[in-house]
């Protein structure tokens, strides 16, 4: 699923390892999420939003015309 995790993480100057540790996941999983290769659960999406100081629609919103 397309998302803005990478862009928001870089804007906050955080590394993948830091975000992953705070979300309770592995760095590999975060990398897969950023590359749209893994669809996280809603619970994990919310955790990532809290860490990135953004709302769910800012991070994970996909327009109906885009491919999920």
């Amino acid at each position: 699923m397309p998302n803005q995790v990478r862009a928001l993480r870089l804007a906050l100057n955080l590394t993948q390892r830091e975000v992953a540790a705070r979300a309770g996941i592995t760095r590999q999983t975060l990398s897969l999420i950023e590359k749209n290769d893994y669809n996280p659960s809603l619970k994990l999406c919310l955790q990532l939003c809290y860490i990135l100081n953004a709302t769910l629609d800012q991070v994970f919103w996909v327009a109906p015309t885009e491919e999920i």
Binding site: I25, Y38, L44
Partner: protein, 138 residues
């Protein structure tokens, strides 16, 4: 050992367990067939005095009983259909009694096979009825 909190790894672990279960059962069935081929006694392929059969059947019955919950949970049809319950009971009783009679008891002791079939049917129907009338998803 460190506790896994990563949801992706937890899901992968479940998939691994499923694969291991399937592989284990295939090996068990292979061993049973090999045993029967060695002894030449195919009528006792699923005899209860064989520990491998008990292990195989424990896994199979656990899967069957747990699958009932999954089927009922995703079922959108009317829940209060007693005809469906009766039909399920008759089919289960016939199939499981048949399995016991022909595969495990060597076509002897029909009453015992019927009793085993009735017990398994009662357990499965009880779980099915629970989900039909007390589904936690309602």
């Amino acid at each position: 050992m460190k506790r896994i909190t990563d949801e992706r790894l937890i899901l992968r672990n479940f998939k691994n367990i499923r694969l291991a279960f399937a592989l284990e059962n295939l090996v068990l069935i292979g061993f049973l067939i090999a045993q029967a081929a060695q002894t030449g006694d195919w009528s006792n392929l699923f005899a209860w005095d064989n520990p491998l059969v008990i292990i195989l059947m424990t896994g199979c019955y656990t899967l069957v009983v747990l699958s009932v919950g999954i089927r009922a949970a995703i079922d959108d049809k009317p829940k209060h259909s007693w005809v469906a319950v009766a039909l399920l009971g008759v089919v289960l009783l016939t199939v499981i009694t048949g399995l016991f009679y022909f595969l495990m008891l060597g076509q002897r002791r029909f009453l015992l096979a019927l009793l085993c079939g009735a017990i398994v049917t009662a357990v499965v129907l009880a779980i099915d009825l629970y989900y039909r009338f007390n589904s936690p998803t309602d």
